[in-house]
């Protein structure tokens, strides 16, 4: 697959204010983004996500390393590279609040050298697609946070760039608008064949719309993999079993021998058993224990791991353990 963005050995160091200390915001980061891909850039606060995004946008000059956008080195030919990129940066600071929705769209298109005539049809199309029709003559400061965010994405779309970078696109949005923004992002990739890079803390957004994630921690890439691979890698065979009776002492003894990590909570009429199996066949051993006293099984629920838990495990360095176990 053709890469539209190539990031190679990127480094950026900041000097702390009023101090001689340096902060390594980004240390030797390399990754590629394929055309038409949605890439999630994840990491805890201060991991280096925004610094990486700003270097790709040409807003920050890296100390060393190289960024190629559509084959153009953005250090050597910054303005040429910028033709292929547009971005919605974090917060609601991407628009002119005293201009209307339409005026903002037309102004930013003009700022990229496009004429009003060139973009008139696209403006209408985007107003419709982004549910902003009827609001086009409204001042931006009178719009809701969600509307402003949708407009900021529409402005980035109007740039006709190949790549759109979004820094925390769902931050501060309510559930409904967050969902709407997610659907819009999916439609952008589906209908317009644009490449999207999203930096977000919202794991649902990443799990829902990204094909691949790059996880950064302390300025370094700790994972670069497809979302489904990560989900598989951290898949666990953990079960919560609701029993219609309490286990007798013999059963409890056997459980302790066969499943030393289990958690058993008993109530007056029923009990709950939390168990993690190393292999799927282990479930038969469990049934043997239950059969000893014909303990009725009321429910078996498999616990799943979500992307947020995976992220936490990766950041804490548990990926290596998972890889070792799976092999």
């Amino acid at each position: 697959m053709e890469s539209i963005i190539e990031v190679q050995n990127l480094r950026k160091t900041y000097r702390k204010r009023r101090s001689k200390e340096y902060v390594h915001a980004v240390s030797d980061i390399s990754f590629k983004v394929n055309r038409g891909e949605i890439l999630g850039l994840l990491g805890p606060n201060g991991a280096g996500k925004t610094t990486t995004i700003k270097m790709i946008c040409g807003l920050l000059i890296p100390d060393s390393g190289m960024i190629r956008i559509n084959g153009i080195d953005n250090k050597e030919k910054r303005l040429k590279a910028l033709r292929h990129i547009s971005a919605v940066l974090e917060g609601n600071r991407n628009l002119y609040w005293r201009l209307t929705v339409r005026e903002n769209l037309e102004y930013f298109a003009g700022n990229r050298g496009m004429s009003r005539k060139d973009v008139i049809d696209q403006v209408e199309d985007l107003l419709l697609k982004f549910n902003l029709k009827g609001k086009e003559n409204e001042l931006v400061n009178r719009l809701s946070r969600g509307m402003q965010q949708k407009l900021a994405i529409a402005v980035a779309m109007l740039a006709e760039s190949d790549v759109i970078l979004l820094d925390e696109p769902t931050l501060g949005l309510d559930v409904e608008t967050g969902y709407e923004v997610r659907e819009i992002l999916k439609a952008i990739v589906r209908d317009y064949n644009r490449t999207i890079i999203i930096s977000s803390h919202d794991m649902d957004v990443i799990q829902d719309i990204c094909e691949r994630t790059v996880i950064i921690n302390q300025g370094k890439i700790v994972t670069d993999d497809r979302v489904e691979n990560l989900l598989k890698l951290f898949e666990i065979r953990a079960y919560t079993i609701t029993l219609g009776d309490i286990l007798n002492s013999q059963q409890q003894q056997l459980l302790l021998q066969k499943f030393p990590q289990h958690d058993y909570q008993q109530d007056t009429y029923q009990s709950i058993l939390n168990i993690e199996l190393a292999k799927s066949e282990g479930i038969y051993d469990l049934f043997d224990v239950l059969k000893l006293n014909n303990t009725p099984v009321e429910a078996i629920d498999r616990r799943t791991i979500n992307f947020e838990q995976i992220f936490m495990k990766i950041v804490k360095g548990e990926k290596q353990d998972a890889l070792a176990q799976s092999s």
């Binding site: 201009l99 050298g113 004429s115």
Partner: protein, 257 residues
């Protein structure tokens, strides 16, 4: 064509914002007019009656040019500060046209809009003072154009400094007094001041508007100094601006305020 689209977009934005902040614009215009009336009254009250007419004519031209230089040079500094505060400075910096081009067209549109205001202020001042100056558009236009280009250069230096430092409001306030000195001091006092930005231009405009000089009566040497100043200060301004933009991008200062 891309330049023209950029100019159109920015002129429209300036015009819209001027309309949306109309009370602010009117208040500013009134303030400048009231200050002029105060100055005019002062000359009439305590000035030498034998040179009163000439003093008033000088006051009108100097004051109008101070207003223009103040609006053109300071406005770009304030634009940078405002864009940084609003958070849109980074969006401007991401334009493939380059921020210096956006700032150039903003200077052109600001100057154009302010010229209209200056013309209104000029005729208002002349009517108030009852002193009608020689408005020879054909002679004044090229002088004004070259003078404004050197003002752009100074504007770019201010813009560059504003990108890095942001908190330059106090400096911009002091700058208006420096500009006042440059516009009010006649070149005859110190001819070397001709090499400072826009001083030569204002002196030539004074020759036309007050003493009625025609285009062919102006010195070729004066035009050469004017042209040199325009090129020199504009080039220096762009150079300083691009350098400051690079420093801001290296240190990550673009989004800071």
């Amino acid at each position: 064509m891309r330049w023209l689209n950029l100019l159109k977009a920015n002129t429209k934005k300036e015009y819209i914002e001027l309309k949306r902040y109309l009370p602010n614009t009117i208040a500013m215009l009134l303030t400048f007019y009231i200050i002029f009336v105060g100055m005019f009254a002062g000359i009439q009250l305590i000035g030498d009656p034998s040179t009163q007419d000439s003093n008033i004519q000088y006051a009108i031209v100097n004051y109008i040019f101070w207003f223009l230089s103040f609006m053109v040079i300071n406005s770009i500094g304030y634009e940078i500060i405002n864009e940084a505060m609003k958070g849109t400075l980074e969006q401007l910096s991401m334009s493939p046209m380059g921020m210096w081009r956006i700032m150039t067209v903003r200077l052109i549109s600001t100057t154009f809009i302010n010229l209209v205001i200056v013309i209104v202020l000029l005729y208002l001042s002349m009517a108030t003072a009852g002193q009608w100056l020689n408005i020879d558009v054909i002679t004044i236009a090229p002088i004004l154009l070259l003078t404004v280009i050197s003002m752009f250069g100074v504007g770019f230096i201010i813009a560059g400094i504003s990108i890095i430092l942001k908190q330059v409001q106090a400096f911009l306030q002091i700058l208006q007094f420096i500009l006042m000195a440059l516009t009010f001091i006649p070149l005859s006092v110190s001819p070397v001041l001709a090499f400072l930005p826009f001083v030569q231009g204002i002196d030539m405009v004074r020759e036309v508007m007050i003493h009625g000089a025609a285009f062919n009566q102006l010195q070729v040497g004066d035009f050469m100094i004017l042209g040199f100043n325009a090129l020199f200060y504009f080039a220096i301004g762009i150079g300083v601006f691009l350098y400051c933009e690079r420093v801001a991008m290296k240190k990550g200062l673009m989004a800071h305020y």
